[in-house]
Each structure stands twice: as structure tokens, then as C-alpha cells.
Amino acid sequence: MADQRPDLFLGVFREQDHTLEATKACREAGFTFYDVFAPYAVHGLDRAMGLPFSKITWVTFLCGAMGCIIAISGMTYVSAWDWPLNIGGKAPFPFPAFVPVMFELTVLIGGLCTMLGLFAMCRIFPGKKARLFHPRVTDDRFVIAIEMDEDFDESKCREIFAQHHAEEVKQVGPDYEAAVAEGGAA
């Protein structure tokens, strides 16, 4: 697989505004983004990259609904079906009493699944080795990584990067798994 992947062309930036502008410029130039890296959530950067809205909302919605259904069906089974006991003279199916637990289970299952969904969508998990394109990308550096595919134009790219105050511009080989620094000290 690795040999089929194109090389990456990296630009390292110090300011979020420069990164944002450079990203926009790269997109206008029609380059394919491998990814952009930022130490914090820069508003608009994802849209500048042309990323769609995250689908994780669906995970939350469906799992939350599932939680609610589990709650109401489970409680109905337990209270009204399996053993309808006379508790305080109340009916075997006291719906108002079920509302709190329905809500809590909606939130609980929805929330937990959102977390798992996030990990799955981000493809992160405990023990995963972080691949950093700059040692300080989690501190104060921004990195734009452009795939050097057929749409790529190196000179144009260099120009864009330079125009937007890139601190460093470099190319990493197709086997970039080994080329990039792994998580560690700066």
C-alpha cells in the first residue's frame, strides 16, 4: 500500500491566520489535502479544507433513540409484564415515573456511543502512535500537508506557502510513516 501513496509536501506555519489563508489558497489551487494539522481547533479551517460537516451527529441521534427505547421497553417489561406488583397502589405501567430513567438512558447511551463514534471516526484508540508532521504541531505550529499527486504543482505550492509566511517547507517521501517524527520531545 505504502508505495502507492504519493509523497507529501509540507508547509509549517506559526500563525493560525496564515495557515487559514494558505489553506484557502491551496484549495483554490486545486491541490489535494492530505491533512492540515493545528494545535487547537481553528475555526473555519475545516471548511477551508473543504471538509463536510461531521456525521457524528447521526451516531448520537440513533444511539440516543436506542437508549430511550431500551429504557421504556425494559421498564415496561420489568414493571408491567414480568411481575406487575402492586406498589403503593400505583398502576403496573406508571408512565410518568418512567420519564426520568428514559431521559437518563437516552443521554447515557447517546453520550457513550458518541464517544466511541468519535474515536472510531478519528481512528484513534489508546496505544495508537501519534504521527506528527512537526514536533511542535500540538504546541504552536500549524502544518499543511498536500499530497503530491497529479494535480500538484510544486512551484505554485512553494509560492503559496512562502506568501503566507511558511516557516519551513519540505517534502516527505512516500514511506512517510518512517519519515515523520513520532510523538516525543520537540
Partner: protein, 991 residues
């Protein structure tokens, strides 16, 4: 060693008691072997979890099935009343005492039921001992006693009234011995007065069921006087307004302290004991006597006129009783009763009470003889004179002058421990005996269990010492022979044992009244004032004369008036307390100079609304020093008494009031010790704050409008989100007639014993953690029936109401809804069931109970004593620590009743199932039944306009309901004659 509990985690605990049934079935006389085997099984089982051993008997006992309870009739020996009892015997051990219906009554008071504790309390003598407390052989003791008994020997006992018992006493006398009987709380004055006025020194039998007007001068006949259970039942028949009855009797009480009888009075006057003679004299004057001018007293003339008029109107259905120890006062009482024509109806001197046969004059003579050194041998049996004589200290001294002293008794009490020998006596529940509480009424006592230890029947001991051949027989055989000769008159012995009594009551003409005897009564009406503080000593409701000081159940049975447990108190009215400068809990020393003798008693102060000003009332029974570890006021043995208190001479359980007992009203003085102790109260608040909890009305109002007192300001609205549950089969319910409840606490003790409710000790009660499933709420009310504002200094003579309160088994139970684990839910038969083993102890249910009837096991309460554990009911689990418990309406009895009906192939009959509280109630105030059975009493009472549910407005829909209390408040002049037609008494009898 633990008893098995409902705790799943403790299942590897030894199974000896909950499972002893397979081990036990040798019948009730082979007990020792059984306990031994049980203990062995426990040791084995304790080693290997989940392996339990079952050791069957070698030979099956015919007619006894393991795990099945059998009832045996016997006689209670808890006090002098000698009520009939039924012993519930399970696998060879009695586990419950109940009242035996007989012409003498039915029901059993708390004291009587608690006798099981005394039986199983391992703190009694296990063998005969000498003065040093060392074990001796029976042979050695017998040899010593035999040489001492004979001419000149004195036998000092309490009342012995049985046919066989008296015959043996005669044999003792025949050998030259002398018998002296006395009662610690004496009624000798009544007998002596009758000796003078009627020529027969007897205490008449009082028939309260015949009386429409009762005037009591300090006789607490509903509490402790003579035969309280019988009197209470008789009296209550005249107070019944259920099922169409429209009339009720009047009770007027003139007394110093607030007694249980006073609390139930329709009209109550506060007089000091020193005024009593004067009031009696004036009343006698108004009823045809002419005994001269009385001394000063506080009852105004108009009130006395009314009393006299009421008595006159009642005529032979009137009754005056007095608890006075003054013979002249009693003669005045006799005079009044004679004038009313009451002899023959409300009191009967021809079939007299033999419940108190003590003779104080002979006791005084004995003391003189002992002082003179003429008594060589003294056998003390069944009494504790060192403790209960006013001058007990002197008696202790005099014992030293007697050469041979022998005690017969189950304990090394204050007197026995001063004697050279103690012949360990059986517990009454281990031995045969007979009684004749009323002339002609013979009652048998039989053992419920084989002797637990190496003890002996007291009569057998006596016979042996007399050298009588009967001494080598079983006392049962002696008894049988004597009964066959005198009592049975051809009736089979077996049938007598089965019923427990033989009734030969036969009245004759009443003896004539001798006016001549009234010569000296004027002095009785002119007693000198006792000054600022008159001392009233009375018999306590639980420990009585002190013999029950070993009994934890009774220590924890609250004083009905003050709701205080584990001590006696110096009761004073709030005004007197203010005058004396003391507050509740102050330990004070009450001292008095009685006929040259200095007497003191240290007790904490307690306020008592309604007590006469300038009096202090102290109960007897407390302050025992040799009654075992329980005198420390703890449920647990290992906890020592507070050393500070001991140093001060104040036992945690009060002081001995007997020294303050005088023949005449005693002038006392009070000094503070500077110490204040915490009083362990079951209830802290006296007033119901104007809330409609104990609803009441007056007879006058009720006759006009049967719903009076039971009209809600805001009637409960029946709002519900959901359809009601239907109860198709049985729907158990209970109705409590507040008119009948006298607040005696019998139900509370019955419940505790039936349901294995633990005794928690003084400190825990102080924390308000008593475990009683049923309690009697005592509420004080302003005399006009209005709201009692809680300011006790203003309400000098309040009215009192008692309300038994237990789980109300609400249909819409607030407790059930809030339990997260369904430890409590409603049964198909309308009961609120609590599954202890499911309970996780959040206490939410108890918080949410508007009636506060749920009890939490704060600790693992004491069940480590194997012998004491024999009293536990095997049909009920012992609850673990951390578990909520409460009244189950005696579910075990309900299922037993249903099973019995199913076996008989019939429906459950109304009245065939009785919870322990209802069974024990002397006045039948508690009625249990099936609300779905339209013929049942509870269902019929639902229609009674007096029927109400407590806190109905919060829509809990309790299945326990109450009937409004109706007070027969003082009638207006014109209404003196109530409905007192003929046939009234017969109607009462029919009940």
C-alpha cells in the same frame, strides 16, 4: 454465636435455632437434651459452610409434630392477679403467652406476657447455692433445712392462695411452723376495713362491668390495682359504643398523681393523698353519713355535690374504690358502697378476691420477734423484703439475728443473697402450681418446658424439709391428689388441665354492715397537711413491685403517661417543678422522715401534667441492685454502667422508692444532686397540636350527632391517576376502638414477643431508636377538649388520650413507591409486606411514612445468647443489621389461620385470626378481620360514623382505622340521669 438472620451473607452461620425443629421433638419435657444437641449441631455446622446437620430423635413423641405449635393452659404469676394464660409451646419451649378466656377475663397484660424473658434469662440460679454464692448439693441443703424446719420456724412468703398450696402451708404450720404472708404493695387496709365493717377481713371482688358510675380515690384499677386485666375488661364493657350501644359508664377519679385510670377518667380531680380522707368523709356525709366536719381539701362543694348526686342516681350500680393504705379511709369507702347498695352488684364480699392475702400486722409482729431474737429459722420465699419493705435496710440487719436463713427463689436477689442457703426455684413456667385468685375460682399452672437448670419447685423443697413423703413425688402428683380431694368434685383432672381452671364461684348473702365500726373515721378526714412536697409512692406499670427488674421487655415498655423507659422518675406537675427549681432530667434526692426513719430515693425529675400541686410521685420496682446486669440499663450485657452515675448512687434505671412508703401521707423534701441525665423517651411531644389525629367527642355530642368529632374540615378528595387495585379475596383490615384503649401497653409487649423485636437498651431509646412495631401515642388535651397548646404550666388538669399506632397498611402506601428494590410492596390481601432480606436499608420508606411506624435495625441487636434465643418465634426471621422492619399484621398468624381453615374445608371465620396485639388486648380495643367479608366486625364498623383513618386527607387510604374516642364528660345538673335502664348489666354481661 449468632442466630440465623435474613442476611444472605450470613448463611453459613450455625443453624441451631431457626432449624432446631428437626432436632427437637422430644416434647416439652425433654428440653435439656435438645438444647445440648442444638449447641453441638451449631459447633459442627459452624466449621463447614453450607453443611447443616440434622439429628432426629431416637423415639418419636406421639402427638407432637416438629414445627407445630401447641397451646397449654396455665396461670400467670407475673403479679398477684393470677390471670389465666395460654402458653404457645413450640418444639418443647414456650414462645408466647396469651390470655385464656375465662370467667376471670381474657387478654393478658404486658407484664404477664413478658414472663418468658424471666424464664429464659440465664441470669437466674442454675443450682442451689450458699451465701457465698457457691454451688451446693441439694442433699446438703436439704439436710441443713430439715434440721432447721420445725417448731418456731417462720415461713415468709407473698400471697399463697391455691388450694394445694395452702394445704401444704397448713402442713408446715402443723409441724409447729408459722406462716407470714405480705404483699410488697399491700391492700391489707381494704381487708382490715372489711373485717371491721362487715366482720369478714376480705378484699371484695370488684365487678366493674356492673358499674355505671365509678369513683376512684387513687385506686389505679386499670393499671396495677388488684386485677387490672380483669377490671379493664369489665370496665370496658360499659364503655363500648359499637354495634348500636348508646350508653356508657362514668369514671371519676380523685387522685394525686396522673394514673392510667386517671388518664381514662371522664372527670378528674387533683387531690393530695392527705386530702383524700377529708374528701371521702365529706362524700360519705352527703350520702347519708354523719361523721363530723372534714378537714381542708381542694375539691369544691359543688363538685362534691355532683359526685354525690351521680352516685346516688347510680345507686347499686355505683362503685367507689380507693387505693388508700389507711383502714379508716377504706371504712369510709365501705360505708359509701354500702349506702349505695353496691354490695352484691358492683362488689362482692362473699366471693372475695384472694389476690392479696398479705397481713401487714403479722409482718410487723414478725419484725418485732426477729428484733427480739426469738426467730430461729426464717424461710423467705417469693418475696424480697430487703428491697421491698419500707425499712429494708433494717430487715437486712435483722436477718443477721436469725440463726437459720433459707431462701427459696430463682435468683440471689437482695434478700436471698443474705440468706445462708438459696434453694434454686423453678421459673413459674417450668413448674406446677395452683391458685384461687377469687374464692371458688381455681386456676392451674403447668410447666411449658422441662427445667432448664437444676432447680426445684418451691413446694417440693418445703415438703422435703418437712419430711413429708410428698416431697419425693413430682409436685404435679401432689397437686393432682389435692385437687381430686377438694376442687375437682368428680371432674376429670385432664379436663381441668386442658381448660386451666375450675370455676366454683358461688356467692351467698352479703355480710351486714356494722355502723359501729365507723367510730374512728373522723380522724381520717382530718389529716395534717404535708407541706410543700407530699411523696406519693405507687406501683410501676412494668416492673411492678420490683420482681420484674430482670426483664428487658418490661424495661423497654414505656411508662404509659410519660413515655419514658428504663428508669423511674420523680413526677411533678410543671408548677411544682418550677416551685422546686428543677427541670426535666435533674437527678434529685427525695428524702422524708417517716416515723423516725430517714428515707431517701434518688431519681430524675419528670414533668407530669395533671398531677396535684405539691406532690411528687415515684414508682416502685426500680433501683434494684441485685437483679443482674440489666440494671445497668443496657440491652447489651458487656456495657458497664456509667461510673459517674454509680458513684452518685443513681443506677441507670432509677432508685428504690419503697423506703418512702409510709402508712400515712409522707411529707418529703427535695434536694438537687447537681446531675442531669438523659431520659430515654419513646415520645417527646405531649400535644397533638390541634391536629385531627386522635379524634374525640363527648357522649352528649355523640348522642346528638354520631359523626361528631369525626367531621373533617377539609374532607379527603379521592384523586388518582390510575384505577384502584382490586382486592378480590381477603382484604385484611383492623379497627381500633379508641374508647376501649386504656393505654396499658399489653399490645406492644405482645407484638415484640411474637415478632422477635429486639430490646435495644436505654441509650438507644434515648436516640429514639426503640424497635417497637406498635406504640401507644399518649396525647394530652386541654380539659375542654380544645387544642392543647403544649404549655403544660397552664393546663393543670389535662385530658389524656391513647392511640395505638402501628403500620397502617395504606392502600396507597408512600413507603412502597420509594423503595428502589421492591423490598416492600402490597399483597393481594391488602397488606403492606416487608421482605427484610430484600431490604438494602436506604431508610427512604421510613422517612416517607407519615405515621413513622417503620423501624430500622441500626445495629446487629443482641441475639448472641443461646438461652435467650429460645424465646424467638421460629416463624419470624430475626432481622439483620441495616434492615427496615415494621408491623406485618402478624402475617404468620394470617397464613396459619388460612391454613387451618383450608384444612377444615371452611372459609376463614371472622375472629379466628387474631394478630398478637388484638389477642392480648384486655379491653378488646383492637379488632381484626376481613374487610371483604361483609359480615365481619371490621366491615360492619366501616359503616360506623365514628370510623376514621388517621391522616385521611393525604390519601394514603390506610386499612387500619380508628373509632372516635367518646368521653363521658361531666353532665349538666339536669342530665344526671343518663340511660340507665334495667337489663343494662345483663347486656354488658352478654358482651
Amino acid at each position: 454465636m449468632e442466630i440465623r438472620t435474613n442476611d444472605a451473607e450470613l448463611n453459613d452461620m450455625p443453624p441451631e435455632l431457626r432449624r432446631e425443629v428437626e432436632l427437637v421433638s422430644k416434647g416439652r419435657r425433654d428440653f435439656m437434651k435438645v438444647t445440648g444437641m442444638a449447641a453441638m449441631g451449631a459447633v459442627i455446622a459452624g466449621c463447614t459452610a453450607n453443611t447443616r446437620e440434622v439429628k432426629p430423635l431416637l423415639n418419636k413423641v406421639e402427638g407432637v409434630t416438629p414445627g407445630v405449635s401447641y397451646y397449654y393452659a396455665s396461670t400467670c404469676q407475673g403479679c398477684s392477679a393470677n390471670c389465666g394464660t395460654l402458653m404457645k409451646v413450640r418444639d418443647g419451649r414456650p414462645i408466647k403467652l396469651e390470655g385464656n378466656e375465662s370467667p376471670m377475663g381474657g387478654g393478658l397484660c404486658g407484664v404477664g406476657q413478658a414472663q418468658l424473658w424471666t424464664l429464659y434469662n440465664p441470669d437466674r440460679l442454675h443450682h442451689p447455692v450458699n451465701k457465698a454464692g457457691e454451688k451446693v448439693e441439694w442433699s446438703a441443703l436439704d439436710a441443713a433445712a430439715k434440721s432447721a424446719v420445725g417448731a418456731g420456724a417462720v415461713l415468709l412468703t407473698g400471697t399463697i392462695n391455691g388450694a394445694c398450696g395452702r394445704e401444704i402451708i397448713e402442713r408446715f404450720k402443723a409441724k409447729g411452723g408459722r406462716h407470714v404472708a405480705y404483699d410488697a404493695v399491700s391492700c391489707y387496709a381494704i381487708a382490715k376495713a372489711h373485717g371491721e365493717t362487715h366482720g369478714k377481713a376480705v378484699i371484695p371482688r370488684y365487678r366493674f362491668n356492673e358499674a355505671t358510675v365509678v369513683v376512684s380515690f387513687g385506686a389505679d384499677f386499670l393499671g396495677t390495682w388488684l386485677s387490672p386485666v380483669e377490671h379493664a375488661r369489665d370496665w370496658a364493657t360499659q364503655r363500648d359504643l359499637k354495634f348500636g350501644r348508646k350508653a356508657m359508664s362514668r369514671l371519676l377519679v380523685l387522685e394525686a398523681r396522673m394514673s392510667l385510670t386517671g388518664a381514662n377518667a371522664d372527670e378528674r380531680f387533683r387531690i393530695k393523698d392527705s386530702e383524700r380522707g377529708a374528701v371521702l368523709l365529706e362524700l360519705a356525709n352527703r350520702l347519708g353519713g354523719d361523721f363530723g366536719a372534714p378537714g381542708k381539701h381542694s375539691v369544691d362543694a359543688a363538685a362534691l355535690d355532683k359526685i354525690a348526686a351521680e352516685l346516688k342516681a347510680a345507686g347499686r350500680r355505683g362503685l367507689v374504690v380507693s387505693g388508700s393504705r389507711d383502714t379508716r379511709e377504706q371504712k369510709l369507702v365501705n360505708f359509701i358502697n354500702h349506702k349505695l347498695g353496691a354490695y352484691g352488684t358492683t362488689l362482692d364480699a362473699t366471693t372475695p378476691s384472694q389476690q392479696k392475702l398479705g397481713n401487714d400486722d403479722e409482718l410487723a409482729k414478725l419484725l418485732k420477734d426477729m428484733e427480739a431474737g426469738t426467730v430461729k429459722t426464717l424461710i423467705v420465699w417469693g418475696v424480697n423484703p430487703v428491697y421491698d419493705l419500707p425499712d429494708g435496710a433494717k430487715f437486712k440487719e435483722l436477718l443477721g439475728k436469725v440463726a437459720n436463713t433459707i431462701a427459696i427463689g430463682p435468683r440471689a436477689d437482695e434478700t436471698a443473697s443474705e440468706c445462708a442457703w438459696i434453694a434454686a426455684e423453678d421459673d413459674p413456667l417450668e413448674s406446677w402450681n395452683d391458685f384461687e385468685p377469687v374464692k371458688g375460682f381455681h386456676s392451674l399452672a403447668q410447666p411449658g418446658v422441662r427445667r432448664l437448670w437444676d432447680t426445684r419447685n418451691g413446694f417440693t423443697s418445703l415438703l422435703k424439709w418437712l419430711g413429708d413423703p410428698d416431697g419425693n413425688k413430682e409436685y404435679r402428683d401432689v397437686l393432682k391428689t389435692a385437687w381430686e380431694a377438694g376442687v375437682l368434685r368428680g371432674q376429670a383432672w385432664g379436663s381441668a388441665v386442658e381448660t386451666g381452671y375450675v370455676n366454683r364461684i358461688a356467692g351467698t348473702t352479703q355480710p351486714a354492715f356494722r355502723d359501729a365500726a365507723m367510730g374512728d373515721v373522723k380522724e381520717a378526714g382530718n389529716v395534717a397537711d404535708t407541706g410543700a412536697l407530699e411523696v406519693v409512692v405507687y406501683e410501676s406499670y412494668n416492673l411492678r413491685d420490683g420482681r420484674h427488674a430482670v426483664n428487658g421487655w418490661l424495661h423497654e415498655m414505656a411508662d404509659p403517661m410519660s413515655r419514658v423507659t428504663w428508669t423511674n422518675m420523680a413526677f411533678m406537675s410543671p408548677t411544682t417543678m418550677e416551685a422546686q427549681g428543677v427541670v426535666e432530667g435533674d437527678v434529685v434526692e427525695i428524702s422524708a422522715d417517716i416515723e423516725g426513719r430517714k428515707a431517701t430515693c434518688k431519681v430524675p425529675v419528670m414533668r407530669q401534667p395533671g398531677q396535684a400541686e405539691g406532690t411528687v410521685a415515684i414508682s416502685t420496682g426500680y433501683g434494684r441492685t441485685k437483679a443482674g446486669p440489666i440494671v445497668h440499663g443496657r440491652g447489651k450485657e458487656e456495657d458497664a454502667v456509667d461510673p459517674d452515675l454509680l458513684a452518685d448512687g443513681v443506677y441507670a434505671i432509677g432508685g428504690n422508692a419503697f423506703p418512702l412508703l409510709g402508712g400515712k401521707p409522707v411529707a418529703g423534701s427535695l434536694s438537687k444532686t447537681g446531675r442531669r441525665i438523659k431520659l430515654a423517651k419513646i415520645s417527646e411531644h405531649d400535644s397533638q397540636e390541634g391536629r385531627p389525629i386522635l379524634k374525640q367527642t363527648s357522649l352528649e355530642q355523640w348522642l346528638k350527632d354520631p359523626t361528631s368529632g369525626n367531621q373533617d374540615e377539609i374532607p379527603p378528595v379521592d384523586v388518582t391517576l390510575w384505577p384502584r387495585w382490586e382486592y378480590k379475596g381477603h382484604k385484611w383490615g383492623m379497627t381500633i376502638d379508641l374508647n376501649a384503649c386504656i393505654g396499658c401497653n399489653a399490645c406492644q409487649v405482645a407484638c415484640s414477643i411474637e415478632n422477635n423485636v429486639p430490646v435495644v437498651g436505654k441509650d438507644e431509646v434515648w436516640y429514639r431508636r426503640e424497635m417497637h412495631w406498635i406504640r401507644i401515642d399518649t396525647y394530652y388535651e386541654d380539659n375542654d377538649g380544645s387544642k392543647f397548646d403544649g404549655d403544660l404550666t397552664k393546663d393543670a388538669n389535662p385530658e389524656v388520650g391513647f392511640q395505638p399506632m402501628m403500620c397502617q397498611h395504606c392502600e396507597n402506601a408512600p413507603c412502597e413507591t420509594v423503595c428502589p428494590v421492591i423490598a416492600t410492596s402490597h399483597t393481594d390481601e391488602g397488606l403492606n409486606a416487608q421482605a427484610y432480606n430484600r431490604c438494602i436499608g436506604t431508610r427512604y420508606c421510613a422517612n416517607n411514612c407519615p405515621y413513622k411506624v417503620r423501624r430500622f435495625n441500626w445495629f446487629r441487636y443482641e441475639h448472641h445468647n443461646l438461652t435467650m434465643n429460645l424465646v424467638l418465634n421460629p416463624d419470624i426471621v430475626v432481622r439483620s443489621r441495616g434492615v427496615m422492619e415494621k408491623c406485618s399484621m402478624c402475617a404468620q398468624r394470617i397464613y396459619d389461620g388460612k391454613r387451618a381453615a383450608a384444612l377444615a374445608g371452611t372459609d376463614v371465620k371472622d375472629g379466628s385470626i387474631q394478630p398478637a396485639c388484638a389477642q392480648s388486648c384486655p379491653t378488646n380495643a383492637i379488632i381484626f378481620g376481613d374487610r371483604n367479608d361483609k359480615e365481619s366486625k371490621v366491615a360492619r364498623l366501616e359503616q360506623d360514623p365514628r370510623n376514621y383513618a388517621v391522616l385521611a386527607e393525604i390519601n394514603t387510604r390506610p386499612t387500619v382505622t380508628y373509632l372516635t374516642k367518646v368521653r363521658n364528660r361531666p353532665p349538666k345538673e339536669s342530665e344526671l340521669v343518663l340511660e340507665r335502664g334495667h337489663g343494662h348489666g345483663h347486656e354488658a354481661e352478654a358482651h
